[in-house]
């Protein structure tokens, strides 16, 4: 029986469940130094000087560095951006001249233990002349640096005749919507352990994640190291969500310290640091309008938004704004379109991508707008969606622009079909009747829905090598990374399926730059699509080699042979002669190997729907998500249990983003959400069972397995669905214009409602 499509238990869980996982903080080597970062206490100011004499005089101080000490190291560059001219907005690894957000590194302290390092850091005194911070992305731009505006760039995507669409519209629906600043907040904070290897002269950086190969190159270039003198190693990773594993100043500093101090250096981020210094995301304000005909058909969509980028452009460049523009149209035809995104620098923590970048935001805006259209025209929101859906027969469907350097071509999809099946599966009519009955009895309760199109499987390539050793072990070496999502299990399933073996002897390697020359890593829901496809090809090749060698040994034509478990047998004589895989490898010279590269020019576009049922308590303004459903077409699920796990985790983050999580700043730019008691992540008590309906009706022709990505499906339209459900519970369409919908905001909203609706 095929292993693809089976909910095999996760192979990677044994060490995690038995406490033998090795996370960054678990890595300790003799003679190690600890780094502590001194961070800016103010949001914006001129860094007039840094008094370090007292710190240096501390008996435990090995070194204290300021910007001067690292002046030869360039700022961190962009991993993903095609927009030119953004270099002046890069972050220096230690603040130079100005500090631009609370938490910005201004000095690095090195000592033999983390306690002493923190004692010494306390003695470093930055002299900062405070300046008025810029906190609102939509405020008029001002000077960032001499000759540089706080508007780093404007991203625009457009097609069709928008003016004509609005001129001839039956109605125009306008909304202003705000999305709060939040982030991934993995439970394992960041960490970097740089170790010099005496014999080889190689610098090894542990604690890497997500994109080790790219970071290796970037670090080598920044530090002037030959590429063969640095390797990155990924251990167990306690969550990534897009923010972990990007190259940050602290990674560069630990490596530079190894080169200069000649000792291993460890840095482990604490939670406060994580909540002020690791990438944040999402914060934006949208002004959007739709031109519609009398049936609710959107004939034109015009969006302008201001993205709160924070103090610098980091590795992602302006990807979030780019994706927001690109993904806003979603599942709808929309014949004329324009989206203009202003990337604005503010004096807050810099932003990067966070799970479903651009799609969480765009889905919120688009689906809010569709609900508003339905309300304006007195139509059922589901009917309006159906009328605007791109038809199954229109696939592949090309948008007249590109994102992430690839043209946007929706490969396959049956949006109306999915919505119909999903509503059947969840018992839509029963749900509605139930809600109506409870409302009649006085409860404030509502249902809301959001549809979304995802993107996944970003190329351009992935390499894989599979080796069958003389001991029977099968090693699958990938350039992928694992941030906990089940890469080992899924790759092993695909490999075993291609070879015909079981899972027992397969070992999947990821995130080790000394094992494979190139690798793209783990982001953009790409690993199962891209690495999985490369594994499929490599496994088929290896199987051919295996059968050819076995055929020679058994003097049988390879097409009469099959791999079953760890043996090769003759198909029509299963009880006849057979060969052990290990023996075949030994006879082939010790091992058998196959390499494969999979390349893709286009992404693949899965899609789905979120449905939330919420209850509001009028007196306390409490909002409870009672039920949360996700319908998703993943093309083909290699491991349905893991897909559902991805979706459940994403939905939890989506509920957090919609109701709880927000980085708040006071008027001086001081972050107010710097502990997990104020940055509120949802706990198991706030999350209902996520009810997932998986579909495989639209496999993609773009890869041999037909799979689409699943990493971001759970969060994409959560904000949209919950906002709609809250509206419905309030009995006031369009009431929610801002995420998260906190009790405090709901309180203010209820105060605006006419009394009889209370």
């Amino acid at each position: 029986m095929s292993l693809i499509g089976r909910s095999v238990k996760r192979l990677e869980d044994r060490p995690l469940l038995t406490g033998s996982g090795r996370f960054a903080a678990d890595i300790t080597v003799p003679g190690m130094l600890y780094m502590r970062i001194v961070r800016s206490p103010v949001a914006f100011g001129r860094l007039a000087g840094l008094r370090i004499a007292e710190a240096l005089a501390h008996p435990g101080a090995v070194a204290v560095w300021t910007a001067e000490d690292v002046a030869d190291i360039p700022p961190i560059g962009f991993r993903m951006t095609l927009v030119p001219g953004l270099e002046p907005y890069r972050q220096p690894i230690l603040a130079d001249g100005h500090v631009r957000f609370v938490g910005e590194p201004v000095a690095a302290v090195f000592a033999a233990d983390p306690y002493t390092a923190e004692d010494i850091a306390d003695l470093v005194a930055p002299e900062i002349e405070p300046l008025a911070p810029c906190l609102h992305p939509a405020a008029p731009p001002r000077e960032y640096a001499p000759g540089r505006s706080t508007e780093a760039t404007v991203i625009a995507k457009a097609y069709g005749d928008l003016d004509a669409a609005f001129a001839g519209a039956h109605a125009v629906v306008v909304l202003e919507l705000t999305i709060g600043r939040h982030s991934g907040v993995p439970l394992e904070t960041r960490g970097a352990i740089a170790v010099p290897e005496a014999d080889s002269g190689i610098l090894r950086l542990y604690g890497a994640a997500k994109v080790p190969h790219y970071n290796r190159q970037a670090l080598a270039a920044m530090l002037g190291l030959p590429l063969d003198r640095i390797h990155l190693h990924e251990g167990h990773v306690g969550g990534g969500f897009g923010i972990r594993g990007e190259l940050y100043p602290e990674d560069v500093l630990t490596c530079a310290a190894v080169m200069r101090l000649g000792r291993p250096v460890k840095w482990i981020e604490d939670r406060y640091e994580h909540l002020v210094a690791a990438n944040q995301s999402r914060g934006s304000v949208h002004r959007v309008r739709a031109a519609v005909d009398e049936h609710g058909l959107i004939v034109g969509l015009d969006d302008e938004f201001w993205f709160d980028q924070g103090a610098y452009l980091r590795t992602h460049g302006v990807v979030v704004a780019d994706l927001t523009c690109a993904m806003l149209p979603g599942p709808y035809v929309i014949p004329a379109y324009r989206s203009v995104g202003h990337v604005r620098l503010t004096n807050k923590t810099p932003c990067g991508t966070y799970r479903a970048p651009g799609r969480f935001e765009a889905s919120f805006v688009r689906e809010r707008l569709v609900d508003a259209i339905a309300d304006r025209l007195g139509l059922d929101p589901i009917v309006v969606r159906r009328r605007n859906f791109i038809a199954k027969t229109a696939m592949p469907f090309r948008r007249e622009f590109s994102a992430l350097g690839t043209e946007i071509v929706y490969d396959t999809g049956d949006y109306a079909g999915l919505l119909g099946k999903f509503l059947n599966r969840v018992g839509w009519e029963t749900l509605r009747a139930d809600v109506a009955r409870r409302r009649q009895a006085g409860e404030m309760i509502g249902l809301g829905l959001g549809f979304f199109v995802e993107k996944s499987g970003l190329g351009p390539f992935d390499d894989v090598r599979i080796t069958l050793g003389g001991d029977g072990a099968i090693e699958v070496i990938t350039g992928a990374a694992s941030v906990g999502q089940g890469v080992e299990t899924v790759m092993a399933q695909i490999c075993a399926d291609g070879l015909g073996t079981g899972l027992d002897h397969i070992r999947v390697i990821h995130g080790q730059t000394d094992r494979i020359a190139r690798g793209m890593g783990a982001f953009a829901s790409r690993v199962t699509v891209m690495t999985g496809a490369a594994v499929t090809i490599a496994a088929a090749k290896l199987r051919d080699r295996l059968l050819a060698e076995a055929g020679r040994l058994l003097q049988t034509a390879p097409d009469r042979l099959a791999v079953i478990g760890d043996r090769v047998v003759v198909c029509d004589a299963p009880s006849g002669p057979s060969l052990d895989l290990a023996a075949i490898a030994r006879s082939a010279g010790g091992e058998l190997t196959a390499d494969a590269t999979f390349t893709a020019e286009h992404m693949t576009y899965p899609y789905g729907v979120h449905l939330a049922q919420v209850r509001i308590e009028r007196d306390s303004c409490a909002i409870t998500v009672e039920r949360f459903f996700v319908g998703y077409d993943v093309g083909r699920a290699v491991n349905p249990m893991l897909v559902e796990g991805q979706i459940a985790g994403g939905a939890a983050q989506g509920i957090g983003a919609s109701l709880l999580e927000e980085f708040v700043h006071d008027a001086s730019g001081q972050p107010q959400s710097v502990t997990l008691a104020d940055y509120l992540m949802p706990t198991i008590s706030e999350i209902p069972t996520i009810e997932v309906a998986l579909f495989e009706d639209a496999p993609t022709p773009l890869n041999p397995l037909g799979v689409k990505g699943a990493g971001e499906a759970g969060i994409a339209a959560a904000g949209a669905a919950i906002a709609a459900a809250v509206d419905d519970a309030l009995g006031r369409p369009g009431a929610v214009r801002q995420l998260p919908i906190t009790p405090n905001r709901l309180h203010a909203l209820l105060a605006e409602l006419p009394a009889e609706q209370h």
Partner: protein, 285 residues
């Protein structure tokens, strides 16, 4: 997030602890459950030069009924109150409150008396102590005193405790079967500190309220009783309308805290809601 270095003492008896406090109390701190102190030390907000760890003083580890009172020793952990510790209306009430304090790992370490000493405005035990007019037994080398809540609570995280003093015991009235109780709390997530909460105690005679105690926590800088609302209820039959009215009085009486989670106006309305809910609950029992 590593504390500054400190000296550590682990006395075995109250006398040893008082001796240490007399010597080091000025720059030192008592370590009980550590659930408030240790996070503050890790943030370096608290930088005690010495820690006097009372966890090995077995004689402080008790909860017992005595002469119509419940006596709670300094080492009684929150989790203990999730199970039965006493009879009477108080005994039934304690478990309903205890589960609102943080999460289980916090409750298995944190102590009742530590909460009272810490005096967080949103502490459930502080609210209870203030509402039931608890006795606070405070000892030092200089002597012992028995303090009452209106004197004990000075402000947010501030009490009359002197650096050399140990809070050894809290005494709560057990409350006879003629008391009915209600407790309502609002926090953003399960286990978070309350944005507002109310504890209500009503004593009925012949279907009339003859004594009322209404305490508020989380909404102001320290727990407080709402005398005007208590007066309103006393003598009434306790109907929903008058409970709403008591909530309104409480809401209008207070000077609410403001933070990123709740504006003053929202807190005021939460108080209104929590008072009404707690009273509804009390009258239903």
């Amino acid at each position: 997030m590593k504390p500054v270095s400190f000296r550590y003492f682990a006395p075995r008896t109250v006398d040893q602890a008082l001796e240490l406090l007399a010597t080091h109390g000025g720059e030192g701190k008592i370590l009980a459950g550590g659930q408030s102190l240790v996070p503050a030390m890790n943030f370096r907000l608290a930088r005690p030069a010495s820690l006097i760890d009372i966890n090995r003083i077995d004689s402080l580890d008790y909860v017992r009924e005595d002469g119509g009172e419940l006596r709670i020793g300094a080492l009684a952990r929150h989790a203990r109150f999730e199970g039965p510790v006493a009879g009477g209306a108080l005994g039934a009430f304690l478990p309903r409150v205890a589960r609102h304090i943080g999460h289980l790992p916090i409750r298995t370490r944190g102590t009742f008396c530590g909460s009272i000493a810490h005096a967080d405005p949103a502490s459930e035990w502080c609210l209870l102590a203030a509402t039931l007019d608890a006795g606070f037994l405070v000892v030092s080398r200089r002597g012992r005193r028995n303090v009452r809540p209106n004197e004990y609570f000075v402000g947010a995280l501030t009490t009359i405790l002197e650096p050399d003093e140990l809070l050894t015991e809290i005494r709560l009235p057990l409350l006879g079967e003629d008391w009915r109780t209600g407790f309502a709390e609002f926090s953003r997530r399960a286990g978070d500190f309350a944005l507002a909460m109310c504890a209500a105690f009503l004593r009925f005679e012949d279907d009339r309220i003859v004594e009322a105690r209404i305490g508020l926590g989380g909404a102001t800088d320290r727990p407080s009783r709402i005398a005007a609302a208590e007066a309103l209820l006393t003598g009434s039959e306790g109907a929903p309308d008058i409970f709403r009215e008591a909530g309104n009085i409480a809401a209008e009486t207070i000077d609410p805290l403001e933070d990123i989670h709740a504006s003053a106006e929202y807190r005021r309305d939460l108080v209104r809601a929590m008072v009404a809910r707690a009273l509804d609950q009390a009258s239903a029992r």
